[in-house]
Amino acid sequence: MKFIVSSSALLKQLQQISGVINANTVLPILEDFLFEIEKNKLTVVATDLETVMRVQMDVEANENGRVCIPAKILIDSLKNIPDQPLSFNIDKNFAVELTSDNGKYKVMGENPDNFPKEPVADDTTSFTIISSALVTGINKTLFAVSTDDLRPAMTGVYFELDEKYIQFVSTDAHRLVRYKRTDVACPRKDAFIVPKKPLNILKSALPLNSDELTISYNSNHLFVKHGSTQMSCRLIDARFPDYKVVIPADNPYKLTVNRSDFQSALRRISVFSNKSTNQVVLNIQGSELNLAAQDVDFSFEGNERMKCQYDGEDLAIAFNARFLIEMLNAADSGEINVELSTATKAGILKPVEVDENEELLMLVMPLMLNN
């Protein structure tokens, strides 16, 4: 088998899917890309058994065929080869020979029959979504996903589908983010949990534009299609916690602050906080917000004061500064509302300005104040 392809175009495609491949895998073949040529179309597949991603591009080929090529060495070499047509020669024993203007390179491929089969997309339900909606949904929720393998349901983003909207929900038990899009219509009410890794790959592979994606799912797998690029992944087989019950219906006090000022203050203050808790105490009185952090062990202390709008009783409440900073990042709005009740109840963050077809709600549990 022989084909000719542009080195930079191939590299671009391979980099989109190389994130799927784990560095230290049990099966050596999982360190390979599967190359498939059919009628001058090259399809490249990467898999870690949980996530499978395939890209397609045009090549010049004299015949159809398949081969597995070690991913790392191929990408490393493509990165260093100046843009040019590159010819691939594969012999019967799956030895791969690359020929460029600079020279010849050889690598041993593997029998493509040993490459894991992709999950079959049978019995699926499908809908379309614009790429930016999915990417934004991932960006706004992925950071709050739990890393605790003992609670697998929370190690992914919960997709909640409805005829009128789609919701992306994530939580690590201490905080929760829910992002809703009302410009997406799903075929029916349904829900599934998508693991972190494929979402990370999707968010970097998909464009932040209005390209149409097709999402299909069945009880075990999710399939996302963008043009000739396709990804499938195993869904997390677990029950997402009943998060709705933990969202306070009515937090009576409302704090409104400038988002970037608040975030900068938290960043400065948190340097002086205890590194294990990142505790920052918010002391709110009238229109003044005091931020305080300290680390008793090292005698560190930081205090700041900023203006705010506040409607409620005077309140001292402590949060993990990192949680707040990450949440403020996800809320791209000039001002942010923080709805509070008592020092031991969840606070709710909402951006003041949002697009009409979006809704963002973020929930964070406080740290106990010891006095």
Partner: protein, 368 residues
């Protein structure tokens, strides 16, 4: 589970008492000896179940967890005996004391079953077979009860071995025999293979360990998810799970019998909420959280039903327990039902994530 941290093969003994409750009753009550007896609920009205059947009763096909009524049908002259748990616990403690003469690495699975790691035994006997023999003898001499022992290099094989030659058996499956033994083992005997997985395997033409062994790890993972890797290892006789002491409690539950039969779903839900509160308090006191929530329902005619749901991770919040219990109850149908008793049990305990405890200590409050 991936890598064996042990430099040399371990020596694991699984001790399983023979018809434990029934044997104790026969020991303490000479009139029961040689007779088919059932320890458990009485068949009259009260919807009792068989906890243990004596070997004489087993000949009639009576099994554990069978409704007592059915047991009576199978053997009309079977004797029903109310359980005396204090006596069983006492015996269990004495047996455990015997184990402790040989090793402190004891993982009790219940009152009548335990794993022992005797790789390094306290008396430096060296031979696991001799130790098992001595333990069995001590149990016979000191408690006048019999036990069956399985000996191998890991927990899985040891447990299966103890079941091979019951009662009063002693089976050793050494490293050289493990692979062949695993090949012949029917799939439903594999740890973690319940009815559903067994059905799935049978549909795929997988009936024994040998069939499973033909599949690559990659294929097993594709069909059975993460359990696939466990199966892949186990059919090759690889099971590096440690014997874990201090895991005595198997389940924690709470239940309530009502003064009048409940007929309205709202009343039932309210009752479940009350019971969940009591249960949750107990879970917290034990600091134990399980993956399986079981609902027990007794109807006005004393028919008993249980329904359970397992989660991949331990359930640590009361809302989840309550909601699961309600869903399980609804799944049994609540229409035209008169309910006399409701109970919730949590089992399948795992360790509470250490991380969570730390975070609690740091004062971070949790949503779930």
């Amino acid at each position: 589970m991936e890598s064996n941290p042990h430099k040399y093969p371990r020596k694991i003994i699984h001790i399983d008492m023979d018809a434990f409750y029934a044997s104790i009753e026969q020991r303490d009550n000479p009139e029961y000896r040689g007779k088919p007896i059932v320890v458990g609920g009485s068949p009259e009205g009260r919807g009792g179940v068989v906890a243990t059947a004596s070997y004489e009763a087993r000949k009639f096909g009576i099994k554990s967890a069978m409704p007592s009524k059915k047991a009576l049908q199978l053997c009309p002259h079977v004797l029903f005996i109310r359980p005396r748990f204090d006596a069983y616990k006492e015996a269990s403690q004495k047996i455990r004391a015997i184990f402790h003469r040989y090793t402190d690495l004891i993982e009790p699975l219940s009152l009548d079953e335990a794993f022992l790691d005797v790789t390094e035994d306290k008396l430096q006997i060296g031979s696991a077979i001799d130790i098992a023999r001595q333990i069995k003898q001590a149990i016979k001499d000191e408690l006048n009860l019999t036990a069956s022992a399985g000996i191998s290099v890991n927990k899985f094989v040891a447990k299966i071995a103890s079941d091979i030659d019951k009662p009063d058996g002693l089976t050793f499956i050494g490293p050289s025999r493990i692979e062949q033994f695993m090949q012949e083992l029917p799939v439903e005997k594999f740890f973690g293979v319940g009815r559903v997985t067994a059905d799935k395997m049978r549909k795929m033409g997988l009936h024994t360990g040998a069939d499973l062994k033909k599949l690559s790890q990659d294929e097993l993972t594709r069909h059975f998810g993460k359990a696939g890797r466990f199966f892949f290892n186990i059919v090759r006789g690889i099971d590096n799970r440690e014997v874990q002491p201090h895991r005595e409690t198997k389940s924690i539950g709470a239940e309530d019998t009502f003064a009048y039969d409940l007929t309205e779903p709202e009343e039932m839900f309210a009752a479940l909420e009350r019971i969940a509160l009591i249960l949750f308090d107990r879970l917290q006191r034990h600091n134990m959280y399980g993956r399986t929530v079981t609902v027990k329902i007794k109807y006005h005619d004393f028919k008993l039903r249980t329904r359970s749901q397992s989660f991949p991770a331990t359930v640590t919040d009361i809302v989840m327990i309550t909601e699961t219990a309600k869903q399980l109850l609804v799944a049994t149908g609540t229409e035209d039902k008169k309910i006399r008793l409701l109970g919730i049990t949590v089992s399948n305990f795992g360790e509470v994530p250490v991380k969570q405890e730390k975070e609690d200590a740091s004062g971070q409050l949790k949503l779930f």
